[in-house]
Symmetry: C2
Subunit: 235 residues, 2 copies
């Protein structure tokens, strides 16, 4: 028996869950920014902050998961609301893993701080990559917040750019290593940072794809970017 009252409560509960997802999104974005900064300025305190934030992100994931189960059990939502809840469950997994990747970057920052730092790596390529994945994450979360697929294809296209940037960074690191083999160890650390950022891009793309599924009811996860574009443009 669904009365107007329970509908309103249901909407409020769904809204609360969506707000928590966006809160998680804000936290992991901050983690990304701080992880990069801790790397560039070799700041172990900031790196520690990234790891602390990760615990809040993890706690939020567990909480939202429980909220979603409760809502389903109590409200027995219909097709479109259920789709939304299932996508929330998937989105928070990707957000939590973005937090993990940021934490890995922060760990590299700590390692660099603790090392003798004979060879101080430069992070120009890393900075460019971070700018891009941050934008992807924002666009994906904005699409999630407004249930608007318009810019989701951008995220998928930017993911291809990030992959290209990763390959370019790798080529450059190989050059460094060949020129001066003493840089090999540190170059590998930088490579892992680049890999972590590339993965953050993957997760942002996943979130964008969930939004398309939520809004259009069409699963675009394992399709090409062009197909995804057709779906988002379909009425």
């Amino acid at each position: 028996m669904q009365t107007e009252h329970t509908y309103k409560q249901f909407d409020a509960e769904l809204e609360a869950v969506r707000a928590k997802v966006l809160q998680m999104g804000g936290l992991v974005e901050q983690q990304i920014v701080n992880a990069l900064e801790s790397l560039i300025s070799v700041n172990p305190k900031l790196a520690a902050e990234v790891m602390e934030t990760d615990q809040r992100v993890n706690a939020l994931e567990v909480q939202v998961d429980e909220d979603c189960s409760h809502i389903i059990a109590r409200r027995q939502p219909a097709a479109s609301d259920l789709r939304m809840i299932m996508m929330v469950v998937k989105t928070i997994t990707d957000l939590e893993r973005i937090g993990d990747e940021a934490t890995k970057i922060a760990r590299v920052a700590q390692k660099i701080y603790e090392s003798d730092r004979m060879y101080k790596p430069r992070f120009n390529e890393i900075k460019t990559m971070v700018t891009l994945v941050r934008e992807m994450l924002r666009t994906a979360l904005d699409a999630f917040a407004r249930l608007d697929v318009t810019r989701t294809v951008e995220v998928a296209r930017q993911d291809e750019q990030v992959d290209e940037q990763f390959r370019a960074a790798m080529r450059q690191l190989i050059t460094f290593m060949l020129e001066d083999p003493r840089t090999i160890s540190m170059s590998l650390e930088v490579l892992f940072v680049a890999k972590a950022i590339e993965r953050i891009g993957d997760h942002a793309k996943n979130i964008a794809e969930y939004v398309v599924y939520m809004v259009k009811g069409k699963d675009v996860r394992h399709t090409s970017v062009d197909e995804m574009e057709r779906e988002t443009l379909a009425p």
Copy 2:
């Protein structure tokens, strides 16, 4: 109105979904085995097979997701059944990503085949790692199939071993690269393979944690291995 008939149907539907998850598990295990073999025997045909299987894995993921949504919408399952369905939704995400990692390994195999192969990498460490993550995946899926948490802690402990093996492999690759910088490019490829296997271990561990949650109702995702052990031993 739940009659005995609908209960039976519900059980059958749940069982069908669980069977599909195990089918996905079998496919990704085969992908891991074939990816390793394609690498060792430099077999591009086998590598292509890994990629083809990935499409079946992806299709199964989409299908199981839909099945789960349908079951929830039609059957309005109670707490423990709902918990099971939510965990299925999470499990298939990890299985699908194991497939992605195996595909990445297969791509390296193709690259090695296409390269001039001046330096032929050895894969001893990789083999040991694969043996371990395969065992982890099997144990996790077996726990899922039998809803038995007894051996889930093993998976978490083995994940720590895999991480240690990864670090050892990395140290060895650094030694190779220092001894002969011409091996740098190829060594990085091997490093990415090791990274992919390490990630497969992470995903297997995730699945084991979901089983604990399914059976015990306790979320052990962001806890230590010791805490996880206490939970699985609790009556």
